[in-house]
């Protein structure tokens, strides 16, 4: 009992601390949303608008930070994330709802694919040390050392453009309405190829490397030698024995990377003009849009925590030793 309670308490505490930090950190930034808006429009917005915006955003009343904090929690418990300033008066939940799907679809799927491919190559590289897959490693390392945005921009310049199959920006062709039909899905897929590919290139090497190292470590375990001694087919030794055990440590890394999907995608979305959550966060930071920032942070915090939980569960499911019954 104590253990599970402890675990739950730990998660709750982390969530509380992270949310509190999320609340206070943005507020430490000097400046306010109204002035950011004025600056953003650099003369396109009349200075007279300042006052109306203060009133509009409800920033004209002075509330103590503490009071705001309490209000924030009250709001959260009501499931209300407040109204975004940038998109005033759109509710933060709507802004997030509009963009999260894209992020999850693009980055989520690519993360899964990258993990799958990387793990597979890692298994190969680790199992047959010195083979061509192993020789691939320096190349993938180089690719993953390239700053993501640079890779993306070069890819756009070289591959996208008028007449090219690859569109240079957006999540789907302008003019299409999101719907589950062949045009939209086709277009969305087409738009996701280039970003997905660049994410893949820059992230797959990490998985290859960690899987390879795990494979090499596991390959030296006694039970692998036993499996060889048993005369099992090579494939079975490699997969059911070596890879199955080597996968375990990678699982928690994978779960965590799922949690970072939302937070870690800023540059992809900036570079490829992808309509996702990372870009919204980036904009929100620039616009001092506290409610939106907090909302996105909340999503990230919760997803990382959920991913952690998932990692715990996955471990439980995959490693019988943790399922100790006495």
């Amino acid at each position: 009992m104590k253990n599970i309670l402890q675990r739950v308490a730990f998660y709750l505490f982390t969530a509380w601390a992270a949310i509190t930090l999320n609340f206070f950190i943005p507020r430490l930034i000097p400046g306010d949303p109204v002035r950011s808006m004025i600056s953003r429009y650099q003369g396109q917005l009349n200075a007279d608008a300042i006052q109306s915006l203060y009133i509009l955003f409800g920033l004209d009343e002075q509330k103590s930070l503490w009071q705001q904090y309490l209000d924030y929690w009250a709001q959260l418990f009501r499931g209300d994330l407040g109204l975004s300033f940038t998109f005033f008066p759109a509710p933060v939940s709507q802004v997030i709802g509009d963009s999260i799907g894209w992020t999850v679809a693009l980055v989520g799927i690519t993360t899964v694919i990258s993990f799958a491919i990387g793990t597979l190559l890692g298994v190969l590289a680790g199992w047959r040390r010195g083979s061509w897959v192993d020789g691939l490693l320096p190349a993938t390392t180089f690719l993953s050392s390239i700053p993501y945005f640079w890779l993306g921009l070069i890819a756009i310049t070289l591959l996208a453009g008028p007449g090219s199959f690859f569109p240079s920006s957006g999540g789907y062709e302008p003019g299409l309405v999101p719907a589950w039909d062949q045009w939209f899905i086709g277009s969305a897929l087409q738009h996701s190829i280039l970003p997905a590919f660049t994410i893949l290139i820059s992230s797959v090497s990490g998985w290859i490397l960690s899987m390879r190292n795990m494979m090499v470590t596991v390959a030296a375990e006694d039970y692998i030698t036993v499996a060889h001694a048993k005369g099992l087919p090579e494939r079975r030794v490699a997969l059911a024995y070596a890879a199955r055990n080597a996968l375990l440590p990678n699982v928690s890394g994978f779960a965590l990377s799922l949690g970072f999907i939302v937070g870690g995608t800023l540059l992809v979305e900036i570079v490829f003009s992808y309509p996702g959550l990372g870009f919204q966060l980036f904009q929100a930071v620039g616009a001092k849009d506290y409610p939106l920032m907090q909302g996105v942070f909340l999503v990230i915090t919760l997803s990382v925590l959920a991913a952690n939980l998932l990692a715990d569960l996955a471990y439980l499911a995959l490693d019988p030793r943790t399922r100790r019954e006495g």
Binding site: M1, N3, I4, R323, R324, E325, G326
Partner: protein
């Protein structure tokens, strides 16, 4: 090395004593336990009482997993105990880190079971021994003195010439050499009590003999109190003055080594002694070995320590089981064939002996 002041006259004086020593390890619990509101522990050591005396070797034998190492760690106060007392020179001692722990460690040193794990792979032998000397102020005041002390230590454990070993890393030594370094380290503290946990299990018999001779020598020359934990009962017979037998976390028998090994009283001890291979009785035939097997009379698995059997923990396997064995915990009962020979078995209860 300032052990010379010990006089033989005081040999036999109790140095370290444990009374009712108990250690329960909490078990990681699953959901099922949560629902059933069970709280489970491993009863690793239950109610162990023993006394280590000056200049005497006490052997502790028993099944694997019966809690021998746990007793040693409890005595060295590396584990906190669930209950029971440890008396050092008659005074109850409970230390948890800090200066008090160091003072305790100076008098009670432990040799760990696994010589491959108990030396830090990143440090040289010199470092290990220097620390052992320095911590307890035995390192002398100058470099030369320290060097001399190091040489003396290594020579004492027959790692000669010392220069050959001082600057080696643990992985460059054989198991036996490591084992001796571990012993040297324990001696560096100039202790009164040495808790040696299976110091010879991984060695071939010739090296094993060397280590045991060293321990005996220490006992005799420096009047150390030694706890010698082993699976090798024959060596207990040869090197220990007193032998204690543990089964499933409890002491089941104790007494003079020769008596316990030659006339075991407790059914478990008997099983143990009979199980021990002895080339002098049965010689060289796999065929013959298969014939008279004591386990035919006491088969079965060692008990679970999480839910140990009620009453006498050996009763499910005991060939001489009586109804009361499964309900009542047998106390220490005198066997009567030799001084200080006792067994925790109802067979020796006064009312049973008559039958």
């Amino acid at each position: 090395m300032t052990l010379s002041d010990t006089s033989a006259a005081r040999t036999g004086e109790a140095v370290l004593a444990a009374e009712g020593l108990t250690k329960h390890f909490p078990v990681r619990r699953g959901l099922a336990d949560l629902l059933a509101r069970r709280s489970r522990v491993v009863h690793a050591v239950d109610d162990v009482t023993l006394t280590l005396r000056r200049g005497r070797v006490t052997a502790l034998v028993g099944e694997s997993g019966s809690g021998k190492s746990t007793v040693a760690r409890l005595l060295s106060q590396l584990y906190s105990r669930t209950s029971g007392d440890i008396r050092l020179h008659g005074r109850i001692s409970t230390v948890r880190g800090g200066r008090a722990f160091r003072a305790y460690a100076r008098r009670v040193q432990m040799i760990f079971q696994d010589p491959f794990a108990s030396l830090n792979p990143v440090h040289t032998i010199r470092y290990h021994l220097t620390r052992a000397l320095r911590i307890h102020g035995n390192g002398g005041r100058s470099r030369a003195e320290l060097e001399q002390a190091l040489h003396a230590l290594l020579t004492r454990v027959s790692l000669t010439p010392p220069e050959r070993y001082l600057d080696k890393f643990p992985h460059e030594l054989s198991g036996g050499q490591r084992q001796r370094v571990a012993i040297a380290r324990a001696l560096g503290a100039d202790p009164e009590v040495l808790l040696a946990d299976e110091p010879v299990s991984m060695l071939d018999v010739s090296i094993r003999l060397g280590v045991l001779n060293l321990l005996r020598d220490l006992k005799e020359r420096l009047h150390l109190a030694i706890l010698y934990i082993t699976h090798d009962i024959a060596s207990a017979r040869y090197f220990a003055d007193e032998t204690l037998v543990m089964y499933a976390g409890r002491m089941v028998e104790g007494g003079d080594s020769e008596t316990v090994t030659q006339r075991p009283a407790h059914p478990y001890t008997r099983l143990l002694i009979e199980s021990a291979p002895d080339p002098d009785t049965i010689q060289g035939s796999a065929q013959a070995a298969a014939e008279h097997t004591p386990e035919d009379r006491a088969g079965g698995e060692p008990p679970s320590l999480i839910a140990p059997p009620t009453g006498c923990r050996f009763h499910p396997r005991c060939p001489a089981v009586m109804p009361r064995c499964s309900v009542e915990l047998p106390p220490r009962l005198t066997v009567g064939d030799a001084d200080g020979h006792w067994a925790a078995c109802w067979l020796y209860a006064p009312d049973e002996v008559g039958k």
